[in-house]
Symmetry: C2
Subunit: 189 residues, 2 copies
DNA sequence: GGTCGATAATTGGCCGACCAAGGTAAAGTC
DNA sequence: GACTTTACCTTGGTCGGCCAATTATCGACC
C-alpha cells in the first residue's frame, strides 16, 4: 500500500499532454451514457416479459414472418453470427423459438417464433412504445425529427468505417491495425 | 432480398394486435444502432492501445487523480460495483492499475493508475478526439450543439426512471413491476 | 460494552456482443 | 468428374454490463 499520502485526488499520476479543451468528446460520452440508460430502461420494461434487451429485437423480426433463414436474420439485424446463434439457443430453450433445418439448403437453419411467443408480442410492443414515449418525453415533433435526422447522420458516419453496413463500399484499407493485443494483456485471471 | 420465398415470409406466426404505425419506436432503434456502431468504432480505435471500450473511461478517471477510492469511481462512472471490480481486476492484471487497501477505512480500496498506463494516455485521448471527429463529421456547430442538447434531454428523461442518476431523487413509485421473471425462461442450457 | 443497520467489495451467474477458428454443405471452376 | 472457393452455422474464448447474495468493516444507537 504505498505508505502514502492519505489523500485522494491531486498529484496526477501522469502529466496531461493535451490541452484540457481537446480532451474527450463530450458528445461521445453523452452518447454512451444515453445508450446505456436506454438499454437499462428497455431491460426494465422487458423484464416482465422474460426477455432480455436485444432479444425483443430478434423476436420482432420473427413475428413478421413465418420462418426466416438464420442468415437472413443475421443480415437484417446486422449482428455477429455467433451472437445470433447463442441468442437463438437461449430463446429456443426458453420455448420462444424453434429451429429446423432447411430442406432446400442443408447447411441453413430456419427459425420461427413459437405459438407461445405470441403471448409476448403485444406486451413487447407495448413496452417499446412506452420506452419510446419515455425516452422522448418533453420533445416536440420538431425536436424528435431533428434528433432522428442527426442520429441518422451520425450513423452514416460511423458506418463508413464499420465493416458491415448496408450500402457501404469501404474496401477501406487504412486504420485497421491488424494485430494489436493478440495474447497480450488481460487475458486471464 | 426479401423476394425469395420458397417458404419464408408471410403467414405471420401471430396476428399483430397493434396498428403498424404504433409499432416500435424508430428513434429507439436508431439510438441502439448508433450506440452499437459507436462502440465498435471506439473498440477499433482503442484496439492498438490494448484497452477495451469502457476501460478507457475508467482510466480517464484515474489519470486525473492520484488515488481514487473505488466507491468514488463507481459513483462517478455510475456503474454497477461488480462491473468495476471485474474491470479493475483485469486492468490490474494487465498492469495498468494498482489497488491497495485504504488505511483509513479497511473495507475500502484505493485505485491508482500505474506509470505504465501513462504511455496510453495520450493515445487514448487521441483516439477519443478522433472518434468524436469521426462521429460528428459533417455536422456543423449548430447541429452538434443541438444534438448535445437533445441527448441531454433524453438522458434526463431516462434518468428519472433509472435508479441511479446523479441528482435524481426519483422515488418514483410507478411502473416498476417489482418482480418479474424470477425463475423464468432461459436460465440454463 | 454490545447490537444493528448502512457501506465497501467480492464472487458467481447470466446475457449481449465481439473475434477467431473450425466443420459442413453448397456453388463455381477446370 | 474432382477441386477449390464461398456461404452457413457452431464452438470457445473474452469483455462490458447487470442482478443477487456474501463477507468485512464502519458507525450509530442503546
Amino acid at each position: 500500500m504505498t505508505s502514502d499520502p492519505p489523500a485522494t485526488s491531486d498529484t496526477p499520476a501522469c502529466p496531461d499532454r493535451l490541452p484540457a479543451a481537446a480532451r474527450g468528446g463530450p458528445l461521445s460520452h453523452a452518447l454512451s451514457r444515453v445508450a446505456r440508460l436506454h438499454r437499462i430502461a428497455a431491460g426494465k420494461l422487458l423484464r416482465s416479459t422474460g426477455l432480455y434487451p436485444g432479444q425483443e429485437f430478434l423476436m420482432m423480426h420473427l413475428w413478421d414472418a413465418d420462418a426466416v433463414r438464420q442468415s437472413e436474420l443475421i443480415k437484417s439485424m446486422d449482428l455477429d453470427p455467433s451472437t445470433v446463434t447463442k441468442m437463438l439457443q437461449r430463446l429456443d430453450h426458453a420455448g420462444y423459438v424453434r429451429r429446423s433445418a432447411d430442406p432446400q439448403d442443408r447447411r441453413a437453419v430456419l427459425v420461427a417464433a413459437t405459438a407461445d411467443s405470441c403471448t409476448l408480442r403485444s406486451e413487447v410492443e407495448g413496452a417499446w412504445t412506452e420506452l419510446e414515449e419515455h425516452t422522448l418525453a418533453g420533445l416536440d415533433d420538431t425536436e424528435r425529427a431533428e434528433l432522428a435526422r442527426l442520429l441518422a447522420k451520425v450513423e452514416a458516419n460511423l458506418c463508413t468505417e464499420a465493416a458491415n453496413c448496408p450500402d457501404r463500399p469501404s474496401a477501406h484499407p487504412a486504420s485497421v491495425h491488424p494485430a494489436g493485443r493478440g495474447g497480450g494483456g488481460q487475458g486471464d485471471q
